[in-house]
Each structure stands twice: as structure tokens, then as C-alpha cells.
């Protein structure tokens, strides 16, 4: 009974609302105007290119452009299947991202918790400033650092090795060493920033919880295990969910600026993004590159929706949307 009156009332309210869109625009026209630049930007740079997906099914010709070039059906995808590099790049992208996500959480959360517990506030501040420094450099500069350390003839690493009477190490001839270098570089660059996010969450916690736990006899490990870490879970879930949703998207700069384009290193360092880029810029194969890009976008879209749906079912508070 009550339900139906509510529904009827909702209908009554909805009817005038539908008619009043113009009224709303007139009332809030300045707000709409303020949204206009961003809306126009997103339309031009994000939504309009989505229509360019048709390129994945075309053979691009300069004269015809995106929409006038001839259709080729699935030929571009067949080309990708035959060359089989895309499969390798996909596996690499996923494996690297899993390592980045897992180790990233451990390093960022761990250093935030440790930083929070340190007695000396001065040490904390100085250490944080140092840890933040790598976040400020570009991947080009990170590439210069790799060059400085691992250059075969002049690198610091080989200087130390030969100084100790050991054989020099040629990183650029050792594909299996790259995962370690790249993972280390990623953690080196991102941990300082990531820990600030967790530290901000810790600072927002109610200190009385910790005091009460101390009075009840909890030691510092128990406080971390049962109070700090559980209260960081929501922050972690958001970050991990975002990262997992982008598990098919690699960090282009990290791979491009350190590996450059060495064919020898491809088996362990080629990711989807570098592959798409090389197809477009080096080979100029626009159709195939668009097909590989579409494959990546669709995989990303499916993953993030599945992840969000799963999280929503288990714990709706942690869902992104």
C-alpha cells in the first residue's frame, strides 16, 4: 500500500522533471558553460577517436583517411595472429603488471607503516623527501641512470665487478636479467609516491584506537596487524582495483626508454604498448597497429568491469563505480 503511493508520488515528480530539462539549463546555464571546455575536450580527444576503431578493420590509405579507406575485414587481426608477437607481448604485460602490483603494495604499504612508527620525525621527513625524488624524474632520465650503471664498457656496475676481479656483465645481451632491472626501477620510482597515499590514510586514523589497544596490552606488531593494515585495506583496494583493471596496459616510458629497440631483448621486454607503438611509428602499419590497440582496449575494458563487478558483489563499499 505504502509502496504504491510512493511509486505514484515518484511518477508525479518525474513527469515535470522530464519537461524541465530546458528549465534546468536556463537555471544553471553558467554551470553548463563551465563544463563546456572539459566536455568539448573529452569529445574531441577521447570519444571522437573511439570512432577511429574502424581502422582496425581497414587498410589505411592516406587519401581516404580514417573513414574513406577500404575495408579488409579481419585481415589485420589475422596478421597479428600469424606473427604471434602479440601473444608474447600480452603475456609479458600481464606478468610485469602482476609483479608491479604485488610488490608495489608490499613496498608502499610497508614503508608507510614503518615511516609512521619511526620515533624521529626529522628522519622520517628526510627519508620521505629522498624516497620521493625518483618520482620527479622522467623516464628519459631513468634511462640515463640505467645507462650510467649498466653500460657495458663504462657502467658503474661493471667497474665494480672488474674491480673485484669478476667478469663484466652485459645487460644488453642478457634478456633474462631485464625483469629484475625493470621491476626494481619501477619500485624505485613509485614507492615514495605510493607510500604518501597510504601515509595520508594512516594519518587520518583515530589515534584513540591505538591507545585503547595499547592499554589492552596489544604490542606494536598486533596493533599493526589488527588496526593499521585493516584500515588501509579500502585505500589498497581502490589502488589495486585500478591497477588490475589496467593489467593489459603497460608503462610505455619505462620499457621504451630503458630497453630502446633491441630485438634480442624482445622476448622478455616487449609489452603490448611498445609493440603497438613500433607497428605504428617504425613499420607505419596503421591498420595492424590499430587492431592491436583495439585488442588491448577491449581486454582492459572487460577486465576492469569484471573486477569492479566482483568487488561490488563481495564488498560494495570498495567498488569503483
Amino acid at each position: 500500500m505504502k509502496k504504491s503511493t510512493n511509486a505514484a508520488a515518484a511518477d508525479l515528480r518525474a513527469a515535470p522533471r522530464r519537461r524541465s530539462i530546458l528549465h534546468t539549463i536556463r537555471k544553471h546555464w553558467i554551470l553548463f558553460l563551465m563544463l563546456l571546455p572539459a566536455v568539448a575536450y573529452v569529445l574531441v580527444f577521447c570519444y571522437a577517436p573511439m570512432t577511429g576503431i574502424v581502422l582496425a578493420f581497414k587498410r589505411y590509405q592516406h587519401a581516404g583517411g580514417i573513414y574513406g579507406s577500404p575495408w579488409v575485414g579481419l585481415a589485420n587481426f589475422k596478421f597479428l595472429m600469424v606473427s604471434n608477437k602479440l601473444g608474447m607481448a600480452t603475456v609479458n604485460t600481464i606478468l610485469y603488471n602482476i609483479a608491479f602490483i604485488l610488490l608495489g603494495v608490499v613496498f608502499e604499504m610497508g614503508s608507510a607503516i614503518l615511516l609512521n612508527e619511526l620515533f624521529s620525525k626529522k628522519f622520517k621527513k628526510v627519508a620521505q623527501t629522498f624516497m620521493f625524488l625518483p618520482y620527479f624524474i622522467s623516464w628519459v632520465v631513468a634511462g640515463a641512470i640505467i645507462y650510467n650503471i649498466f653500460n657495458f664498457e663504462r657502467g658503474v656496475f661493471n667497474n665494480v665487478l672488474t674491480g673485484m676481479g669478476l667478469e663484466p656483465f652485459d645487460l644488453y645481451n642478457t634478456p633474462q636479467a631485464w625483469p629484475f632491472v625493470l621491476i626494481f626501477l619501477k619500485l624505485w620510482k613509485g614507492t615514495g609516491y605510493g607510500s604518501v597515499v597510504y601515509l595520508a590514510a594512516i594519518t587520518g586514523l583515530d589515534q584513540e584506537m591505538f591507545e585503547a589497544a595499547t592499554i589492552d596490552g596489544a604490542n606494536v606488531w598486533q596493533r599493526i596487524r589488527h588496526i593499521t593494515i585493516p584500515s588501509l585495506i579500502p585505500t589498497m583496494m581502490i589502488l589495486v582495483l585500478l591497477a588490475v583493471g589496467n593489467i593489459f596496459r603497460g608503462d610505455f616510458g619505462l620499457f621504451y626508454q630503458t630497453v630502446k629497440s633491441s630485438a634480442l631483448l624482445q622476448p622478455t621486454t616487449e609489452i603490448i604498448d611498445t609493440y603497438v607503438f613500433k607497428l605504428l611509428i617504425n613499420d607505419g602499419n596503421i591498420g595492424v597497429s590499430a587492431a592491436a590497440g583495439l585488442y588491448q582496449s577491449v581486454l582492459c575494458f572487460i577486465t576492469i568491469n569484471v573486477c569492479n563487478w566482483l568487488v561490488k558483489r563481495v564488498q560494495p563499499d570498495y567498488a569503483l563505480y
Partner: protein, 308 residues
């Protein structure tokens, strides 16, 4: 209120006891954090030391761990043919300044509208923006759009536009502004101010931590950009610093040309040292920016989900 809390915190600190578990954790913390912090700093040290080492020493003994000399010739050579470096510097500074201004303006203005509870379509628009982070056309259609239809090739717009709007920055702005009292907007409306005036005169002055954080993010993105320069720019007078450095690191050939132009004899050209000196030159200013914004950073960085 805040004084009370501070007093309480002080009290809390005083009562902290040196039990064995606290000491053990602190010992672990000092060692782990200390080692990691030094590891973060170490590569910067290596680059700087390398940039001050004379070229013949670099060729003979490689990049040093301990400083061998204090030699400025690598820097001198970088600045000896200064036009190209200075042009790259000017390009980066100009693009960073303009781009950051536009990016912060767009993110805060959009974020403000989306944070207004009385704006009926805020959720629809939020999703309209957010959807672009879920799905995209990929590199190729975007690149074709920029080069073929918008003419961003060899244009400063090609360096500014790709980075001037970020959905994430808008979300950060929106969640920060949602925390401001709605009464500010309401009472100003009663006083007859329009929405844009409220945003500029009342809301923005309350958003200093947010503006500092977004400025830092945007300035970093522009300063460290090499990608858009690599994609869109072939005109050497439009190269930015990072791309200039990338090319320098990439080819000794390009370096030799620079050296020849400046009239240095080839064998003594500090190619290796110059790479390090240029790295220092390209990194310096943006790192120095950090201390100025550090105090705002944690406050401005609020992670909010899209909903709500």
C-alpha cells in the same frame, strides 16, 4: 579544537613507552627505510659525479662511484652551443607554464561543477568523463585524430593539449571540493553572485592545497614529457628538454654534430660526460620545486571513488 587535539597528541607522544617491541620495530624501520632512502638517492649521486668527471677519465676508467675530479668541461660544452639547449629549455618552461595553468583551471572548474549537489546532471557528467578512463580507442585513432584532423604536428598545441585535461585530476578536485561547506555557495547565491564568480572568488581561495597538488602533478607531466614531442615534433627548434636529452642519449652521432658545431676537436669531445651533464640540466629545476609544495601535498591528495 585543533589545539586540543595537538595537546592530546603531545600527551600521547610523551606516554609512548620504550618497550622491546617498539624498539625492535623502530630498529627495523630505521634500517629498511634508511637503506631504501639511500638507494633512492644513489643514482642521482652517480649521475652528478659522472657529470663532473673529465672525459678522458670516463673513457679510460668508466663512470665513477667516488668523485675523481671536479671538472666543469662537460657542462661548459653543453652550454657552449647553447642555442639548442636554451631553445629546449625555453620550450619546456613555456609549455609547462601555459599547460599547468590550463590544466589546473580546467580540473578545478570542472571539479567544482561536479561537486555541486544542486547540479542535477552531475552524476551523468561524472560518468561521461570517467568512462574515458575505462575505454579508449587506442594509440592509433588518437594519433590520427591529432595529426590528420587537428594539425598538431609541429605545433605547440601538440605539446600542450594532450596533457591539459586529466580525468583523475578532475576527480581529485571534485572530492576535495565536496568537502567544502555547501553554505558558502548557497549564501553567495543569495547575495546575487553567479556560479563562475563563486568559483573564482570564494571556492578557489579555499583550495590552496588542492591547487598546489594539481599544479605539481601537471607541472611534472609537462616538464617530464618526451612522448608527445617524439610523436608530434620534427622541427628541432620545438624540441623540449626531455626529448633533447633522449636524442642525446640515443645517438653519439647527434652529439658529435653538436661538438663539431661548437668547434671542439673530436677525440676530446666529452660525449659521455655531456650525457650526464645534460641529464642534470634537464632534471634540476623540477626537483627543486618539490620542497615548496611538500607541505600541501598530503592534504591535497584525497583519493575518492567516482561515486558519491
Amino acid at each position: 579544537m585543533s589545539a586540543q587535539r595537538a595537546a592530546k597528541k603531545h600527551h600521547h607522544l610523551e606516554r609512548r613507552v620504550w618497550t622491546s617491541d617498539v624498539i625492535a620495530l623502530n630498529a627495523l624501520g630505521y634500517v629498511l627505510i634508511g637503506v631504501f632512502a639511500l638507494l633512492c638517492l644513489f643514482p642521482f649521486y652517480l649521475i652528478i659525479v659522472g657529470s663532473f668527471t673529465p672525459e678522458n677519465s670516463l673513457i679510460r676508467e668508466g663512470y665513477p662511484i667516488l668523485p675523481r675530479a671536479f671538472d666543469l668541461s662537460s657542462y661548459a660544452l653543453c652550454l657552449k652551443n647553447p642555442e639548442s639547449v636554451l631553445i629546449a629549455y625555453a620550450n619546456t618552461i613555456g609549455v609547462t607554464a601555459v599547460g599547468t595553468l590550463v590544466a589546473v583551471f580546467l580540473a578545478t572548474m570542472t571539479g567544482y561543477v561536479l561537486s555541486r549537489q544542486d547540479f542535477p546532471y552531475r552524476n551523468g557528467f561524472s560518468f561521461f568523463f570517467f568512462f574515458t578512463t575505462l575505454f579508449s580507442g587506442g594509440l592509433v585513432p588518437w594519433y590520427m585524430m591529432c595529426t590528420r584532423y587537428l594539425g598538431l604536428k609541429n605545433s605547440y598545441f601538440g605539446l600542450i593539449l594532450p596533457l591539459c585535461f586529466s580525468v583523475w585530476n578532475t576527480i581529485i578536485a571534485k572530492s576535495f571540493m565536496s568537502g567544502l561547506p555547501a553554505a558558502i555557495t548557497e549564501s553567495a547565491k543569495i547575495d546575487g553572485a553567479n556560479d563562475f564568480e563563486i568559483y573564482v572568488k570564494l571556492i578557489l581561495p579555499l583550495c590552496k592545497p588542492l591547487i598546489a597538488t594539481l599544479s605539481l602533478f601537471s607541472a611534472l607531466a609537462y616538464w617530464n614529457d618526451w612522448y608527445n614531442c617524439m610523436l608530434f615534433v620534427t622541427n628541432e627548434n620545438m624540441f623540449n628538454l626531455q626529448y633533447y636529452l633522449q636524442r642525446m642519449l640515443g645517438s653519439a652521432q647527434a652529439m658529435r654534430m653538436v661538438a663539431e658545431k661548437s668547434g671542439m676537436a673530436l677525440p676530446s669531445v666529452p660525449l659521455e660526460g655531456m650525457k650526464m651533464a645534460m641529464t642534470v640540466i634537464a632534471t634540476g629545476p623540477i626537483v627543486l620545486l618539490y620542497p615548496f609544495v611538500q607541505r600541501y601535498f598530503v592534504k591535497g591528495l584525497t583519493i575518492g571513488a567516482v561515486k558519491g
